[in-house]
Amino acid sequence: MPDTMTVTSQVLEPAADSSLGHLSVRQVNKIYDPHGVHVEALQDCSLEIPAGDFIAVVGPSGCGKSTLLNILAGFDNLTGGQVLLDDEPLATVDHPPRPGPDRVVVFQNGALFPWKTVLQNVVYGLLVQNRMTEPEANEMGMELLAKTGNLDRIAHSYPGQLSSGMQRRVEILRALINNPRILLLDEPFRAMDTVSKTTMHRHLLDIYDQYHKTVFFITHDLDEAIFLADTVVVMTTRPGTIKLRLDVDLPRPRTRETLTSHRFLELKQQAVNAVHEEAKKAFERGERELA
């Protein structure tokens, strides 16, 4: 099992690429057994994610994308297969994964602690892992906030006073400051309107361009997936496995022009077809949301 503490004791630094955060998902199965009803969420799911890759996972509701994220994050264990992180076992049937600051999650409905200020939220991980003293952590936190769009001016506000866009940005920073090997984002912009979403994409891409962490991003929005990612993976309906893997060879940095480029539309066509096929299957089976 990778020793999460020593690896993440290194401080967050900008990087052109990354040597850490290589994920190997190998033939992962996940079977739920609530009330004796057998549910196969994932079946023989395999995926190689190179270090520093931005991967977006899309698929119909209930296809198991959140299940996969939960396993990677350490909230749940697989029932077959294994997951390796930088060539060391992260999750096997005998050794369940545990959540840790090398794989921090940004949640769908936002999980900033409402009773802590923005700054207190951002430095929470650093303090709780005893990585540095409070003044040091605060300094680092303020620096990061200032660097990422002058957010230092809201450092002492409470999350309840912020718009959801601001909250999401702070949450991403709260994850990032721990220098994780992987950033896991579970449909983080789902509940936002188009304009806010576009702004958030910009912010996220800025962060990616600067720090080049491996990003595992779940969404149901195909435009978003192709626009943001290097790799787009389409999952099948339950039991979930990889249906299609698209290499998004669009140049970085991504701009507004990228959205309407010829190549973008080609990629989108492939993805749409794949998702549509699966969605039809799911609909015909009358699936209810698993999540």
């Binding site: 999460t4 994050a73 350490g74 909230f75 545990r98 959540p99 840790g100 600051p101 794989r103 921090v104 999650v105 949640f107 409905n109 999980a111 602690f113 409402p114 009773w115 802590k116 929470y124 991980g125 709780v128 892992q129 506000s157 409470y158 999350p159 309840g160 006073q161 709260r174 994850a175 721990n178």
Partner: protein, 269 residues
């Protein structure tokens, strides 16, 4: 415009008080119904209450008045604090760890339907003297209310907060301090206000049944000694003390949970 509206509401409030007091006075003095005529009227009560030399021995100027207030307040506070010290941790453990819940909830749900005041005779048998017995019964009520509300509070914390904290490297101690306690605090304080009210309720009954001194005791005693205005004085005093204690809790709660005010303030804007 807003100022005028507030003034109007303020005015209406006093009008309401006046109407109520007048209705009380009128029904006691002028209604030809004997039931009403046996009651003391507001004027007599007020005169007695603020009398330096009261006919029945109790007014704002007598020491005994404050003695009774002290006894009741001391009992209520003691039981309340005991209930908080035992109930909040138990509620937290029950809400957090399923095992604890499994052990405790069966036992609690058997004991809970028994009205706390039904414990009075047993309590008197077990405890040496009526003072501990009364405090025990009062404690019991507050304890159940506190535990249940704390439990609910912990359960209602969104599980994403727990997960986020775990990702960030929090250990169980950190989770207790940074997630569970702040997250459950609103429910805990609601429970504390309920517990305080319940404590007073129980206390008065306990005092009537089994105590010397105290507001509850005095209410019954005044009746037995045919000192009717004193009954009302004690009732009103009880209302005031009860209200103040709940208000105190609310104020403390609001100070501890400033982050809520600010969020709500934004919503109203």
């Amino acid at each position: 415009m807003r100022h005028k509206l507030l003034q109007q509401r303020f005015g209406l409030m006093w009008l309401g008080y006046l109407v109520a007091i007048f209705a009380w006075y009128a029904s006691v003095k002028w209604l030809p119904i004997s039931s009403f005529q046996r009651l003391p009227d507001p004027l007599t009560v007020v005169i007695e209450w603020f009398n330096p030399d009261p006919d029945y021995g109790l007014s704002v100027f007598t020491v005994d008045y404050y003695l009774h207030i002290w006894y009741s307040t001391y009992r209520a506070t003691a039981s309340f604090l005991l209930a908080v010290i035992l109930g909040v941790p138990l509620g937290i453990m029950m809400g957090w760890r399923a095992r604890v819940n499994e052990y405790a909830s069966a036992l609690l749900s058997i004991l809970r339907p028994i009205p706390p005041l039904a414990w009075v005779p047993v309590a008197i048998l077990i405890f040496p003297g009526s003072e501990p017995a009364v405090i025990f019964v009062t404690f019991l009520v507050a304890f159940f209310a506190t535990t249940m509300n704390t439990l609910l509070g912990v359960r209602s914390i969104d599980s994403d907060y727990f997960r986020a904290a775990e990702c960030l490297g929090a250990k169980p101690v950190d989770i207790l301090r940074d997630i569970i306690i702040p997250g459950a605090l609103p429910s805990i304080f609601t429970g504390l206000q309920i517990a305080m009210g319940a404590a007073w309720f129980s206390l008065v009954a306990g005092e009537m049944i089994a105590a010397q001194y105290g507001l509850g005791f005095m209410i019954l005693e005044s009746y037995n000694l045919v000192q009717y205005p004193t009954i009302v004085i004690m009732m009103v005093t009880l209302g005031i003390v009860g209200y103040v204690s709940s208000a105190l809790i609310r104020v403390v709660g609001n100070r501890l949970m400033r982050w809520r005010e600010q969020a709500i303030g934004l919503a109203e804007n």
